[in-house]
């Protein structure tokens, strides 16, 4: 569905300063996949998506989207893909129903079909009561659902979502995803979805595949499960009942089969293990056997933040600040280009 080859985007800020927003990304997405592109702000997620949706032209490399080249056949690509950008697709002075109708006509529906399609989408996304409301009077969550509806007017087989749930509260995020997944399921063939996000839990729970991007490059690409198991692993966290026993507990954990990366923090001792839920009772038995009383014990399942930390040495949150400088530079570059 998507094939990119060394896709690259540079923003020239000045003669001596070029920002490499996207560096030679090669990515293949098969029909029916749900792929999350995860990375800090300024990592190149949106720039990549804007190239794939024909909004900006790559500096080098190529990309085929829905069977057509994004540069030489951009019109065909636009006809086939759905896109929900970071902003609100509906004009704020327009009425919700009118915007959906207009989109339908733009994609070639006749007036009656466009009206019917608009009504269906409004119904499916719980917006029917707001049909003749002005977009500017809708709430953030309602506007976001309208954006999704607009991206789906022509029932595309490939949908791009650029940070779909940014700025929404958890309840609205859950609600939005419920609708998106429902729309995906109701399609004749499962819609391929590519989304960018910097919410780890979103990538983790929604996507079948997670592509981690940092500094314009893909640094990992697998299912969330595999990424977490291979790159982070579970953590066993134990605390001795008596603080005096911490040293003995540490050496016991150090010698425990499969434990690595031992860390001691105050009275808490932790280690990476392959299978936390299995290792925990084994370790407790060993401690019992050695006569050490364990006060508390738990298993930390890894998050994608742990994955990102392992890959880059920075947590996602730290990365935000380093990449933001580049983000500002690329904004300046775009300003110059204009």
């Amino acid at each position: 569905m998507i094939h990119t080859k060394s896709l690259t985007k540079d923003f020239v800020v000045s003669k001596t300063n070029t920002v490499h927003a996207v560096r030679a990304i090669t990515l293949d997405v098969e029909p029916g996949e749900l792929v999350a592109v995860l990375g800090p702000n300024g990592a190149g997620k949106s720039t990549t998506m804007r190239m794939l949706t024909t909004l900006i032209q790559p500096t080098a490399g190529s990309a085929t989207v829905a069977g057509h080249d994004v540069v030489s056949e951009s019109a065909q690509v636009r006809r086939l893909i759905g896109y929900v950008g970071q902003g609100n697709g509906a004009g704020h002075n327009q009425r919700a129903g009118d915007e959906l109708y207009t989109q339908g006509v733009i994609y070639g529906l006749d007036r009656r079909a466009a009206k019917r399609r608009a009504a269906e989408l409004l119904e499916a996304l719980d917006l029917t009561a707001l049909t003749s409301r002005k977009v500017s009077s809708l709430s953030g969550g309602q506007r976001r659902r309208l954006d999704v509806a607009m991206g789906l007017v022509h029932a595309p087989s490939l949908l791009f979502l650029d940070e779909p749930s940014t700025g929404l509260d958890p309840q609205n995020r859950a609600n939005l995803w419920e609708h998106i997944l429902q729309m995906r399921e109701s399609a004749a063939t499962p819609m391929t979805i590519v989304l960018t996000t910097h919410y780890l839990d979103e990538a983790d729970s929604m996507a079948g595949r997670v592509v981690v991007v940092d500094h314009g490059e893909i640094i990992a690409d697998d299912t969330a499960e595999v990424l977490k198991a291979n790159l982070a692993g579970d953590r066993l966290v134990v605390e001795a009942d008596q603080p005096t026993e911490t040293a003995r507990l540490t050496s016991l954990l150090d010698g425990f089969a499969g434990a690595r990366d031992i860390q001691v923090e105050g009275g808490t001792v932790s280690a990476r293990v392959v299978n936390g839920p299995r290792a925990l009772p084994e370790f407790l038995r060993a401690a019992d056997h050695a006569g050490i009383a364990v006060g508390t014990a738990q298993v930390h399942r890894p998050t994608l933040d742990d994955v990102f930390l392992t890959l880059t040495g920075r947590s996602l949150r730290e990365a935000e600040s380093t990449n933001n400088a580049e983000d500002a530079a690329s904004t300046a570059a775009r300003k110059d280009a204009a």
Binding site: G91, R95, D147, A155, A337
Partner: protein, 275 residues
């Protein structure tokens, strides 16, 4: 909701084989742009009476300032001189500010939404510029009807041609306004700085509001380099029924040059507006 979702897959839009043409896309963009105007009757009414207010306030002052010599100084009835001015002024302000609407759509994301659709790029510009002609036409009709009882003489053919001329010029100026908006979209305040800096000299140096004949010579010379001068003169000739005059021909030339430059610059900007 389950019934709605079940029918969604049944209405997968048919593939459109016919070549999408500029004409149809332009119509779509224009209709979309007109909708909020029509849905907001309040601002519509105010927009319609604004030129009348100006006419009522400025007209008597103009007559007074010419010290009873108005009709000779202006070469005929004062309204015959001033009504075309007001129409040009309305078009000037209406079309030179349209870029601000686009700036807003840049901000919200609505423009980006249209850019990812199959709409042809030029239609995004031409449709918007054409839309401005609809309220302008209504304003023109209202002004003319209101002014007839005050001695304004209507030459229908000339007035129609005059309006067409104004529309051509307006599309050109509107396109330039959009191009300006696209160029300054990262520093929006620049839009108004540039627009205001250009619009007032252009307006005053066209002899639109006050006759330049009473001004210093350098102003009269400068007015010859102002395309708006030719447009204003042409409108006065056309509204006096003088359809085949040289002034009208010069006006058409000025309007056609404006529209050619406006569309060339505007379409080029529109193509690159997602960068």
């Amino acid at each position: 909701m389950s019934t709605a979702t079940s029918t969604l897959s049944a209405t997968v839009p048919a593939k459109r084989s016919a070549a999408r043409n500029l004409f149809r896309d332009t119509g779509l963009v224009m209709t979309r742009e007109l909708r909020p105007v029509l849905h907001d009757p309040f601002s519509l009414v105010f927009g319609m009476i604004q030129p009348l207010v100006f006419l009522a306030l400025f007209g008597p002052l103009l007559v007074g300032s010419l010290g009873g010599q108005a009709d000779t100084a202006l070469g005929g009835s004062v309204w015959q001189w001033f009504v075309p001015s007001i129409l040009v002024m309305t078009a000037l302000f209406g079309t030179s500010t349209v870029g601000a609407n686009l700036l807003f759509e840049f901000q919200t994301g609505a423009h980006e939404r249209l850019l990812v659709t199959p709409l042809s790029r030029p239609s995004l510009l031409i449709g918007r510029a054409l839309k401005e002609m609809v309220p302008l036409a209504a304003q023109a009709v209202i002004i003319v009807i209101v002014m007839i009882p005050f001695g304004f003489q209507l030459y229908a053919a000339g007035a129609l041609i005059g309006f067409a001329l104004l529309a051509v010029f307006g599309i050109g100026l509107g396109s330039l306004s959009y191009a300006l908006a696209i160029a300054v979209r990262k520093q929006e305040w620049m839009f108004w700085v540039v627009q205001q800096t250009l619009i007032f000299p252009l307006m005053i140096l066209s002899g639109m509001l006050l006759p330049l004949e009473s001004g210093p010579e350098w102003m009269q010379v400068a007015s010859h380099f102002n395309p708006l001068t030719y447009l204003v003169n042409a409108e006065r000739a056309l509204f006096a029924g003088d359809v085949g005059s040289a002034a009208a021909a010069w006006g058409w030339l000025a309007a056609l040059v404006t529209v050619a430059i406006g569309l060339a610059v505007g379409i080029r900007s529109m193509r690159r507006s997602a960068d």
